[in-house]
Amino acid sequence: YALQGSRWRVKNLTYKISKYPSRLNRDEVDTELAKAFSVWSDYTDLTFTQKRSGQVHIEIRFEKGEHGDGDPFDGPGGTLAHAYFPVYGGDAHFDDAEMWSINSLRGTNLFQVAAHEFGHSLGLSHSDVRTALMAPFYRGYNKAFQLDQDDIQGIQALYGHKTQLDVGGSFPSPSAPRITTPQPSAEDPALCADPNIDTIFNSADGATFVFKGEHYWRLTENGVAAGYPRLISRSWPGLTGNIDAAFTYKNGKTYFFKGSKYWRYNGQKMDGQYPKEISEGFTGIPDNLDAALVWSGNGKIYFYKGSKFWRFDPAQRPPVKSTYPKPLSNWEGIPDNIDAALQYTNGYTYFFKGGSYWRFNDRTFSVDTDNPAFPRSTGYWWLGCSSAPKGTVGGNAKYIHHDHDDDDEVGDITF
């Protein structure tokens, strides 16, 4: 993602549609644009309120050709819309010569384009991640639209993580899956009896998978999806069981690690000739890893093994700096010898060990404080095990307190 450099100082923003499109129903436009704003408010504490008159933060207009800002529209195709960054007022203009459509494969989908433009209104520039909403090219109507991790990281870099539910009370902020009452139907008795996991990762399309032995489960908001477990080898042909670590990188590819080998998949299709040696593809990273993740703090890949961790940056030569490995105790509150780690779709980082998990706060750079405190039961909060404890559970977390000086010990960012 790329930030333009300006953002709103307030989180409660107002908008007004000053000029509606000529070919769509006004109520439907209101609904679609509210939906487009909610794409961003789902992941932050931003709120968007429509006003019919008066001063607003973001003004929206559907215009044709030259419309007063010196950047004329070009008719159907070409430029679809443009929007101004917060420092320039945040207004969004849509080319009324386009065939705007709603829930249809025909025409240009209003919701998707509006969600993109509002990203600019909030301070996001174009992303070079193809799958991101903030990529500049229109990708066609996608019924199952989901914000890309890249977009989530971008908006949260500007406005922070979401801490409140939209309606009613607060949810265990900012928690893992939004589970309040695990559904019995979403339980797997065997998994609940032994909730230790080998690895957990998000696929490029945002689904979360848990691997254990030869099997895997897809997680839902209520626990595990129906129809699981399934065999890893059947869904990811060529991959074996008992995987050590996995992550999906921003190129959309998923990497699996086991022993001295690694595999790369594009979705569930092997992406070339694998397995390969970790020492070849990930120079500087040891074999027999415990866990791996792409950290939301800086987008770099972190590998964990025993009491140490390594930071891997494919864009650097060498990709692992000579100052690594570093002690895992730098991740304050996280125990050694973890089983799995994940950057979840809410942008937070989670560490798993022995049926317990810890949520890491990238801002305080320590395990999050919340009620119930961490570690919590993986069974209850992630796997939907209704009989598992809801509160704090045992874990061998080492709470090491030390002051961070100007040289952070995890990445080249300033805390």
Binding site: Q4, G78, T79, L80, A81, T108, H126, F137, Y138
Partner: protein, 85 residues
């Protein structure tokens, strides 16, 4: 003539989205550009869009340039940036 037309169109496109100076889009300014600036601009666009960075106005690049897109510049602030010491 067709080749010139395509080049001219691509030049306008690259200027519109921040890869070349906005003065390229001004028909009253007889804009002359050296080949390296032109190739660099195409390569930057190709790199941003995830294409092979050939620096040539190939078919794949032209196809991408013809796609509907957002009108906001990919590279904000052309010509306004200062080099970092």
């Amino acid at each position: 003539a067709p080749a010139f037309g395509e080049t001219n169109k691509a030049m306008m496109y690259l200027a519109q989205y921040g890869y070349l100076s906005p003065s390229v889009r001004n028909p009253s300014s007889g804009h002359i550009m050296d080949e390296s600036s032109w190739k660099k601009a195409i390569a930057e666009f190709q790199s941003f869009a995830g294409l092979n960075t050939t620096g040539e106005l190939d078919e794949e690049t032209k196809n991408l340039m013809s796609l509907p897109r957002c009108g906001v510049k990919d590279k904000v602030g052309f010509g306004e940036s200062r080099s970092k010491r």
